[in-house]
Amino acid sequence: MSEKALIETRDLKQHFPLRKGLFGGKSQVVKAVDGISIEIPRRSVLGLVGESGSGKSTFGQAVMGLTKPTAGSMTFDGIDMATASSAELRGLKRRMQMVFQDPFSSLNPRMSVAETLGVPLRFHEPQLNGAQRKDRAAEMLERVGLPGQYVDRFPHEFSGGQRQRIGIARALMVHPDFIMADEVVSALDVSVQAQVLNLFGRLQRDLELTMLFITHDLAVVGHVSDFVAVMYLGRVVEIAPTRELFSSPKHPYTEALLSAAPTPQTKNRRQRIVLKGDIPSPLNPPSGCPFRTRCPYALEECAHSTPELREFASGHKAACIRDDLSLASATQQQKEPA
């Protein structure tokens, strides 16, 4: 990472105060994102995995500048989003685009594809006229693998996979440098999911995009990402180059996630670690390490203070105080029961 990263967050926090009932009372705070520092190098893909309630989507929104962070900073290409002028922000917003999960609710059913794809152009390239916008839309449709003449069609005429291609086309209309993709293949069938993942991979390479790829699916994240960050209760508990994370996880939560991911093999199955209980409420997180209540390796010390990320190998950090664990990887077939 000699070149400066395109995206950098420093101790980013996003807390949401909860109002108590009619008579007030003690106000509570949901620490949805609680101090995240990451860098996404140019032209690379950071995968962000976590279960529901881990704060991964909230983090994505904070990165996109859709919410105002409670604390910490987010810089894009060296520009701090919090102190940027409105002219700078408008420029930044063109360079940062997003693709959403549900291709059924993220497209306006009453707008033709040409209109949908024209909206970002109206805003960022107002000099274009309607015919020019339509030409650009048709070009982009071909780029995402749909016939250009489909620009006059409406969303209901497309299947889920095709709609997701339109969502991707919309994000690419203004030639962004960065794409935030939040659960973009979760609503798709397996055979269609592979088509859309391949499209993402190809576009990312050809257009040299930097990406934040948010998903709950480990296998998907392993396929698309250069680096992976694992989130639990608002914090990153492990971050590493993808192969490294899957072949030698250092955090017990990563190990559990890898072992719980279903694999279509009936022989040589990995020893499964079934965690106890659910992810705790972010309203009332455990003291110390947030994972300790479900961790099979927790010690008494784990309750004392929240472990910070520390380096286990070059570029591989995990927030666990234990050095003595030998955790099961996803790439080896079997492990003796611990």
Partner: protein, 334 residues
């Protein structure tokens, strides 16, 4: 092995007259006590409609269910010829069902306890006190601690995994012979999914019930099923022991689907494109002639695969495959 349910030539269509659409075509299978059969397929494959057809939960005015569904209890009962009131007595009692989204299956204004007790007392003459006792046992059995206290809680107070455990408790309340589970772990996180699958496996060992497990995920199949049926466009395209189907699939759709899923073992290797299946599942009013998969199949041969009929053939050891070219493809692979 004890057969508990036989499904013969089950065909389900919606609409009437010219607009009638057949979404399930001649599906055949049996369920055995203590065993799990998985129905796997993508959206539109007809897997969920098959399960609703078995439960007779499809509206008779809008759908037509043909074939035979025979429940083997003390006597053989053809479910399709039963009166609605007799069917209602069987539903929940002999055949129970759990669904994908437990929050929409539970009533938000009644406590968990009320809902379990209601399920018991609507089928059995039992005092409230005994039913309550049974509810506590059930909550305990599905692995929820502090069962007695949980009786008074409402669905919104529970997590997704807990709610699915409650649904399972209600389904098991009357010790059914058959549990139909329609994507019961799809809405859950992976760590919770692992818990629920483990629970279902344990409960099956304890009760000896037969399970019909509907899913789109081959990974889940590997965890739960003894036998597996792969469905495509309303037809069974492959059936066999789970090991056979997953390790030695013969139908190009099955193997293609498995190759399309990214693998944990190769994570981060950046091996380039996944093998995808081009196109999408055909709409029921626009089914291709011959093999319904042939327009998307890389092995399809004009003049062979687009000519009906395409029968399902036995490739040995109860491994069934609906592909005219399976022998050729198998020889080519060896």
């Amino acid at each position: 092995m004890t057969k508990v349910l036989t499904v013969e030539d089950l065909t389900i269509s919606f609409g009437t007259g010219d607009s009638e659409l057949t979404v399930v075509h001649k599906v055949n299978f049996t369920l055995e006590a203590g065993k799990t059969l998985a129905l796997v397929g993508e959206s539109g494959s007809g897997k969920s409609v098959t399960s609703l057809g078995i439960m007779r939960l499809l509206s008779p005015s809008q759908s037509r269910v043909q074939g035979k569904i025979v429940l083997h209890s003390d006597e053989d009962i053809d479910l399709l010829s039963l009166s609605e009131s007799r069917m209602r007595r069987l539903r929940g009692d002999r055949i129970a069902m759990i669904f994908q989204e437990p929050l929409t299956s539970l009533n938000p204004v009644y406590t968990i306890g009320d809902q379990i007790i209601e399920a018991i007392r609507s089928h059995r003459r039992m005092s409230k006190r005994n039913a309550r006792q049974r509810a506590i046992e059930l909550i305990d059995q599905v692995g929820i601690p502090d069962a007695e206290h949980r009786l008074g809680t409402y669905p919104h107070e529970l997590s997704g995994g807990m709610r699915q455990r409650i649904m399972i408790a209600i389904a098991l309340a009357l010790e059914p012979d058959i549990l139909i589970a329609d994507e019961p772990t799809t809405a859950l996180d992976v760590t919770v999914q692992a818990q629920i699958l483990e629970l279902l496996n344990r409960l099956q060992e304890e009760t000896g019930m037969a399970m019909l497990f509907i899913t789109h995920d081959f990974g889940v199949v590997a965890d739960i099923a003894d036998r597996t049926i792969v469905m495509y466009a309303g037809e069974m395209v492959e059936e066999g022991s789970t090991e056979t189907v997953l390790e030695r699939p013969l139908m190009p759709y099955t193997s293609g689907l498995m190759r399309a899923v990214p693998k944990l073992e190769t994570a981060g290797l950046k091996e380039g494109d996944l093998e995808s299946i081009e196109g999408f599942v055909p709409h029921p009013d626009n089914r291709p002639t011959g093999c319904s998969f042939h327009p998307r199949c890389t092995h399809a041969l004009a003049g062979t695969c687009d000519v009906p009929p395409v029968p399902i053939e036995d490739a040995g050891d109860g491994h069934l495959v609906r592909c005219k070219r399976w022998k050729t493809l198998q020889e080519a692979a060896e």
